[in-house]
Symmetry: C2
Subunit: 181 residues, 2 copies
Amino acid sequence: MNRFEEKTIGRKSIYEGKIISLRVEDVELPDGKTAQRELVDHPGAVAIIAITDDEKILLVEQYRKALKRSLIEIPAGKIEKGENPDVTALRELEEETGYRAKQFSYLQSFATSPGFANEIIHLYIAKDLFKIEHPAKGDEDEFIHLMECTMAEADEMMADGRIFDAKTAFAILYAKKLLKN
Amino acid sequence: MNRFEEKTIGRKSIYEGKIISLRVEDVELPDGKTAQRELVDHPGAVAIIAITDDEKILLVEQYRKALKRSLIEIPAGKIEKGENPDVTALRELEEETGYRAKQFSYLQSFATSPGFANEIIHLYIAKDLFKIEHPAKGDEDEFIHLMECTMAEADEMMADGRIFDAKTAFAILYAKKLLKN
């Protein structure tokens, strides 16, 4: 899967942060010419399509500083160093929603911004949910508002822009397909 | 739409690149505590769900240095400075596929990586496609392989990981829904 591979011929680290890092690479193109690529490293993340017994989807609202607004998204979170994504997914579901799931399965993974970042999101499906009395707490700097929405409500929030996030848009189309079957 | 707003109390520019820039902001959280946010600025992009008269979807394979592999994606591209996204979308469709469309409409926009970047993708639907004899050429440093795939082929590529990109996963679900109706 390396059609048109670009060979690195130079590399300069710009920033090593708490979550992301940035480097600039000089690459050799398939035609022998060179180009520069600005590349962000990200540890990867998980996201969970969680469906309640009454066919609602769990969504969380949180402020996203990069976009200067709050977004309504499916539960999600970064993979901690050395953590298995399955563990991250179960942890984030509990931390962000207070739910655990009797049915929990991996769905698929995809890159979110392949043009400049290596962030990969691993998607999971959670069903047969049950509330935890004292759920594990999330990050100290995360403020989250939990919502349980019907598919009609989710559609409405897609239409009016409250849902404005690629993984959540995918999740809602997927959940609708799932609930029809 | 500013629930849990985080007020910027400090800002440091790290990098101003050709495509992206990076800054670190100190923010005040809703509880008065502070946190640091690593934020990437991106000019935004368009992507096109292009459906041929025989119900195939146009896909392009290109190498993605950030992921060190080639990906199969719907046609897409960055918005040039000052460019209207509608214009970008028509331009990218022609440059990457050699097609123009008699039916072309805006579908929706979403953030791709709201945790750290402000990249927004504007999605379009193109139908009634026709080949251009001498299409506009794309960026010099872009090498692209065009594919026209049935929905079954697209599903197969989702399953085996050749399609590994959030906007394309959304596009395929959406196209399947569209073609059923």
